[in-house]
Amino acid sequence: MRNKSAILIIIICGVVAFVSCEKDLHTYLKYKDYSYSRADENGGTWQPILIDEGAAINIDEPEDISSDSYQAEISALKVSMNEIDTSQKKALAYWGNNAVVRWNEIALELIAKYNLIPGPNDDGTYTLPNPSNPNGPPSFPFAHPPYASRALAYLSVAQFDGLISAWHHKYLYNRAAPYQQDNSITFAYEPNDIPSYPSDGAVLARVSKKVLLAMFPLEGDYLQKMEDEHLESLLLSGGNVPSDIVSGITIGDEISTIALARAGNDGMKNAQTPKAISDSIKAAAFERFGWQWDNLEVPIRPVGLTPLFGKVSMWNIANVEDVRPIPPPVFDSEAFTRDVAILKDHADNMTEEKRRIANFWQDGLGTYTPPGHWNRFTNEFMVENKMNPLRSARTMAYLNMAVMDAGISCWDAKYYYHYPRPIQLIDGFKTIAGTPNFPSYTSGHSVFSAAASEVLAYIFPEKATLVRGWAEEAAISRVYGGIHWTFDATVGTDQGREVAKFTIDVAKLDGAN
């Protein structure tokens, strides 16, 4: 009996202990809707990126609030709001009052979903993802860091321009939100004084769906579902009537068309070269410097990742060679010998702290990549600063333009210098991070992170020390991981800071300060 009771108690305690430890694992940024720190009434005068000015896109003048058609919209809205169901309430809470965050998270999730490198075929060849046959296999795209930086840049720039146009028309027509006009309508979020025509949320929903669909062509059903849910939430929040939304969609359609036209001609479609071009790039580097990076996978990948990403159109730098870094050390130099010793020392004396740093910043295959990691921080900062959607889109636009320019500049250096990785030059070297399929110098993590941190330091000055420290940690993390030289990291950090200056100079003059 004694034994039986003891066993029973142990079992019950064990099960209870395990069940009571259930944790809520967050799948998106949880925040309570907030009162915007400012409305940015002059936002319609800010300088957009792709269009000349906010007024460049036309929408119809709204019906007067006293019109029958508008009153009918208000009446119908009240009926819908009275019939709201549980899933609609959940959607309202999810979308919150800054959908820039949510659409960015959707982009990050799709990046992580598609950030899978194609494996070899049975015969040892590799098949590349093909946008004209997105189902593959392998499916299109392979959302590697350059691809991710570009997807995020187009998404954010298009959102920013769309919202500048929305703000222009909002304050041109000054039609107050339904909940401001009718006391019986309760807004789902913290009230604000921003006019509701056209709906900024609808601009975001349409722009984001269209840009992301172009970047992730297999995600049509998912993106349509998210757009529909977002648009419905805009109505059910009490913040918009259908005519607000229709006009927002008009702006969204126009801006996304303009953004995607640029994307179609920015050179990305040539970035993943055939082997012959890749070989000639490699031979040119060998001719110049006497070295060349080689892929060491089994079977060997015939072409590195996007050798011509360095030729893609930059956002804010006229010529990529203007920001090309100095050459890396030659093999018989003291600098190189010292670095070999450093790499070996890290490998032989791996600490938990170095391992943690290597893993925290790894952002490797199957994740949202380093550009995604910096977007994630930015989402948190925007909410912390109670930014409205327009200012959030601006933040993301400058961040992601700088990050994409950083990637382009980094890839220019990678394939111009074509410098080998540590595993190629140190005999028997082993790593705790995966060695990527492109040359070593400079480190993508370093350039992406330094550029991102500079933009964030500009927009969130109180975070400057924090984010610059993060960028340096991200850079050195690759050395701890065993896949980069220290000069890849340090020169890459300088390079990223330099690249970001060009974007920050544009931001300083856009009228938002």
Partner: protein, 330 residues
């Protein structure tokens, strides 16, 4: 049998290629010894049985979802486990188990990934086995037993480093039911069913994809069912025991390994494993025993097609009188 034992304790992870494998190995090793949390043997009071086993596991293919594949990035992965374990007789019907395996992993050369392997102590495990019933039924004896076990990582090994991670990196609480029927001629059959409650493991990154984004460093290691079926016989006046065993593991949730991507602790793992074990207590060496086994995963989901071979030494003695009580043990 062997498999069960270990499985009891800790490991098992589903995710990676090798975690499972590891686990399996460990368990296997332990089991084969006798007096494990998953078998039907009981130690007499005041007796202690020490086991030291060496297990070598190896795989060059794994199931990515249900697709069995090879991967030259990791080539062939080796997993070596050294397991010290002790079984203590508290009462006639209550035994206590304690163990701590040391695991070392690495890829064969050459490989395309050039990844460093890992090595450290894995999970500290304890278990209590209780014999609820033993009675004559027909011409044999029926035994019913239950085991509760708990294991938790003993070191800060990184579970999110498949296929080289040492274990799934989370605490596990297990509850087992064991039934054995043994004929007087030494034949016996045994069945075991258990549920394994696994907690969270902590990665060193705070974002991962598991059929969607997760903004946390915690990964939910799926709970699992674990089954074992054993056919065995005692020979040579109970000095030699031969067992054929089947072990099954089935996660109750989790995601699949994605194409050409690393496994992770949140993966849904299933496997069917077959094994054979031989245990010998040389009558001339009082209290000493030797155990050897071989197991092979024949079917799986998100796990390695691993085969393990192990060899162990056991020594049983009465820790009060310091005399051997070997024969009583079984």
């Amino acid at each position: 049998m062997t498999a069960l034992l270990l499985s009891l304790f800790r490991y098992k992870r589903k995710a990676q290629i090798d975690l499972n494998i590891l686990i399996v190995f460990l368990f296997t090793a332990v089991l084969s010894i006798g007096q494990t949390p998953t078998d039907a043997l009981m130690m007499p009071p005041k007796n202690i049985c020490i086991l030291l086993s060496y297990d070598y596991g190896h795989f060059d293919r794994y199931w990515e979802g249900d697709n069995l594949r090879s991967n030259e990035t990791i080539a062939s992965v080796n997993r070596t486990t050294i397991l010290p374990m002790a079984a203590v007789g508290i009462f006639d019907d209550l035994n206590f188990y304690i163990g701590l395996p040391y695991v070392k992993t690495k890829s064969s050369e050459p490989n395309g990934g050039k990844f460093e392997g890992a090595n450290d102590f894995q999970d500290f495990m304890v278990a209590l086995k209780y014999k609820a019933l033993e009675k004559s039924v027909g011409s044999g004896r029926l035994s019913l037993l239950t085991t509760v076990g708990y294991s938790t990582p003993a070191t800060n090994y990184l579970s999110d480093y498949m296929p080289y991670s040492l274990g799934f990196g989370a605490p596990e609480f297990s509850l087992r039911g064991i039934a054995q029927y043994q004929l007087s001629n030494g034949f016996y059959v045994r069945g075991m069913a258990s549920h394994l409650w696994r907690g969270y493991t902590e990665a060193e990154r705070d974002y991962y994809y598991n059929n969607g984004s997760f903004y946390t460093s915690l990964m939910d290691v799926p709970n699992a069912w674990n089954f074992e079926g054993v056919l065995g016989k005692w020979f040579m006046n109970n000095a030699l025991k031969l067992e054929l065993n089947y072990t099954g593991l089935k996660s109750t949730s989790g995601d699949n390994i994605r194409a050409y991507n690393a496994a992770q602790p949140s993966n849904k793992v299933k496997f069917d494993r077959l094994g054979i074990s031989l245990q010998y207590y040389p009558p001339s060496l009082n209290g000493l025993g030797v155990v050897g086994y071989y197991t092979n995963v024949v079917n799986g989901l998100n796990t390695a097609k691993i085969s393990n071979v192990g060899l162990g030494l056991t020594y049983q003695f009465n820790f009060i009188k310091n005399t051997n009580n070997e024969q009583n043990a079984q």
